[in-house]
């Protein structure tokens, strides 16, 4: 299975103005590659949640997207500060986002849950004070 890097973007902390640009570019790219719209929809929702997570919760990071004949893989890696309690963070409705974030319509505590729901496979590497790396896969 040969995979190819099709998108690589740096995501800045707190950059709400550009929030979603990377996922939007991904959606357009996958459309051009002829990926079925239901798969495109699932992977771009996952990418958007990951992108907003980096903007809201991290010190900054990057998103890379790989494609092979069998799957699309999004890798979101940041430089910290890590998820304090992953078990809690995975519970629907749990969020550490502040009021400013909630006023923008985020911080509903559905992000990681959404990522799991729309992906066929998710791997989360994190810990207090550690960088976080989330790998999400949608099978083709």
């Amino acid at each position: 299975m040969q995979e190819k890097l099709i998108l690589e973007n740096k995501i800045e902390r707190g950059d709400f103005a550009r929030g979603g640009e990377t996922s939007s570019n991904l959606k357009e790219l996958l459309r051009k590659l002829g990926i079925p719209s239901d798969k495109n929809r699932r992977i771009t929702i996952v990418a958007y949640e990951l992108e907003m997570n980096i903007i809201i919760h991290s010190y900054g990071g990057e998103i890379k997207v790989y494609i092979s004949s069998e799957q699309i893989k999004v890798v979101a890696a940041d430089s910290g500060p890590g998820i304090e309690d992953l078990e809690k963070a995975l519970q629907p409705g749990f969020s550490t986002a502040d009021d400013e974030i909630r006023d923008m319509g985020f911080g509903a505590g559905m992000g990681l849950n959404n990522i799991q729901h729309y992906s066929d496979d998710v791997e989360i590497e994190t810990g207090p004070g550690q960088p976080t790396k989330i790998t999400a896969i949608v099978n083709l």
Binding site: A17, G20, S23, K27, Y48, E49, M52, M104, G105, G109
Partner: protein, 118 residues
């Protein structure tokens, strides 16, 4: 129901018009939480919201929602309108509050979405 029927019902003012008003709307979702929209929304859904920032357009783009109505007369920021135009998403504004908009649509026969269990 056709979107054209919704225009007089909610006294809609057009902000960005892309699709023909004969576009068939199957369900509606009234929501200010974008993560909930990302969690539950389906295509062919009409989104009613009181949020006016560009992330509303991004959320619609990712979920393939084509129509957004801003409730209680909230006019979105210029950058929100520009992004909708760029992404081909229809924007309308209603002077009515969220509760009334949803009630009128429900009474007119529009259904809510099938919400997945979490």
């Amino acid at each position: 129901m056709k979107f054209a029927e919704i225009i007089p019902l909610l006294q809609l003012e057009p902000l960005v018009v892309i699709d023909d008003p004969d576009y068939e709307i199957e369900t509606a979702c009234g929501c200010d939480l974008m993560s909930d929209v990302l969690a539950f929304s389906q295509e062919k859904t009409l989104l009613l919201t009181g949020l006016t920032n560009p992330q509303v357009i991004r959320t619609a783009e990712m979920t393939d929602i084509r129509f957004i109505i801003f409730v209680r007369g909230k006019r979105p920021q210029e950058e929100t309108i520009a992004l909708a135009r760029e992404k081909g998403i229809n924007l309308y504004m209603s002077p009515k509050p969220m509760f009334e908009c949803c009630g009128l649509l429900y009474k007119a026969g529009l259904n809510s979405e099938n919400i997945r269990q979490i």
